[in-house]
Symmetry: C2
Subunit: 259 residues, 2 copies
């Protein structure tokens, strides 16, 4: 299965919410996804696991090239334990830029870690939660991934972030010498707002088939579930938020985006 | 008047919305605030002004120590032109970390720039919009400011960001050898949600008098106004969002937080 980087440098658009709940939707089908938290704020890690020391986190991939397998911890997903595995983040990740530079050694660290881990066992779906910054960490996330999923919340500034990202991905394609397949997904969509529909139309025009048909609605359940340290399926499997993420998974599977 | 850094490393909590609309609320009173956009995503700049070249942006403060006065551009606020001035951002800001390091030369650049500008004219209120990252840029913003305003949206992950920031500010106080006065303000508050009230109670318990009594409601107007490249007063002065930001300004003025 594919490795997906979930990224948009605009803050608060639903990157963590999307990585968490897509992984949980897969866990419901008996697959055991791997989640990597590359955000120094460690929000995904907060929701899924007790705090990890820097040496047991994704930081150790960069600082001491620890094997990724040694950093995994089993986590509950969709109410089943264990439903998946997590490489947790740590605040030290914020220093990766200045400690290790932006060269290929840093940029390919996660990719090498995942390749090593895969050789030791069966490949599985990987979701990489990137923080809201275009820096060496999120680039390492994109370099490690097969494809990129870009959550875009239905507001003006998030669209700006997505358009800026489009330029970034084009620049990366020169370096990677391959096309970076991507899908944009509208999140926090409140159908009562006129602007949300205008934004949807703008994105459809700009990104065409790369914009997912599934939209994730703005719902109380999706806002609350991190508060209870759970994914949306464990929190309320019958909720609108759970149905939306299930539908998004269906759409991505049907499009072969997770192969 | 005071210099305020608007900061919370959590993304999407309303930093840009708060910097923009507080400045506009001041402009309505005939004061001409200065806005500094320190976010490489340049969202505040997008809303207020045409794109600037790197040499004419805040990046030039760091790269060639240009005087801040040379980087100002007049901008319309609250429907009045000019209502204020803006030092725009540029994507190059994201390289400040790796190009200029994290030493005092970089950390005090903005402060020196503002001090120089103030010597040339009357001091005025300054709002510094920081990006969603704890790095040398936002630290430079906090070093340049007299006080810090921390928007916290009514959700679990934003509270985590605020608690983490509390630790950061404590560490900074050692370096600055002074207390960093701060106020937390609840944003995107949807009173229909139980969780919002739980979050408000958590913050009141934790931050006491440092939590503003004024809460900024989640409203369509505040989500839409950036789309029309306007602050909330120019967009709809009678709206709930405009009343909330006016009330926030009142409260901050009464508390002497802008002196
Ligand atoms: N569809 C939704 N409905 C309601 N609330 C949502 C939805 N998606 C996300 N949220 C809430 O919005 C906030 C921001 O989402 P999230 O933290 O996932 O964004 P992010 O892009 O990962 O942020 P950051 O840029 O800080 O990494 C969260 O508190 C989350 O609970
Ligand atoms: N009170 C509010 N009501 C409705 N929408 C809001 C409110 N405050 C902010 N928003 C919307 O939420 C989005 C995020 O707000 P904003 O960009 O100001 O946050 P930020 O903290 O500056 O984000 P970043 O971390 O990317 O800098 C914006 O598109 C804005 O329109
Ligand atoms: Mg996140
Ligand atoms: Mg902002």
């Amino acid at each position: 299965m594919a490795r997906l980087a979930v990224f948009n440098q605009k803050g608060g658009v639903g990157k963590t919410t999307t990585a968490l709940n897509l992984a949980a939707a897969l866990a419901r089908r008996g697959l055991r996804p791997l989640l990597v938290d590359l955000d120094a704020q460690a929000h995904l890690s907060h929701v899924l696991a007790p705090a990890a020391a820097a040496a047991d986190s994704a930081f150790a991939l960069f600082s001491e090239a620890r094997p990724l397998g040694a950093l995994l911890r089993p986590v509950a997903l969709a109410g089943a334990a264990p439903g998946g595995d997590l490489v947790p983040a740590h605040a030290e990740l914020m220093k990766v830029d200045s400690l290790f530079g932006r060269g290929p050694r840093t940029l390919y660290r996660l990719r090498d870690g995942l390749d090593g881990h895969e050789r030791a066992g069966a490949p599985r779906a990987v979701f990489i939660d990137c923080g809201p910054l275009l820096g060496v960490l999120s680039l390492a996330g994109v370099f490690a991934a097969d494809r990129v999923l870009v959550p875009v919340s239905a507001d003006f500034l998030a669209v700006q972030g997505a358009l800026a990202l489009e330029d970034t991905l084009k620049a990366l394609e020169h370096v990677l010498k391959r096309r970076v397949e991507r899908r944009y997904v509208l999140t926090r969509f409140d159908a009562r707002r006129r602007m949300a529909h205008e934004i949807a139309a703008t994105l459809a025009e700009r990104f065409g088939p790369e914009l997912c048909a599934t939209r994730i609605a703005e719902t109380v359940g999706l806002a609350e579930s991190p508060f209870h340290r759970r994914d949306i399926f464990a929190h309320d499997a019958a909720s609108r938020g759970a149905r939306d993420y299930e539908a998004l998974l269906e759409e991505l599977l049907a499009a072969g985006f997770l192969e």
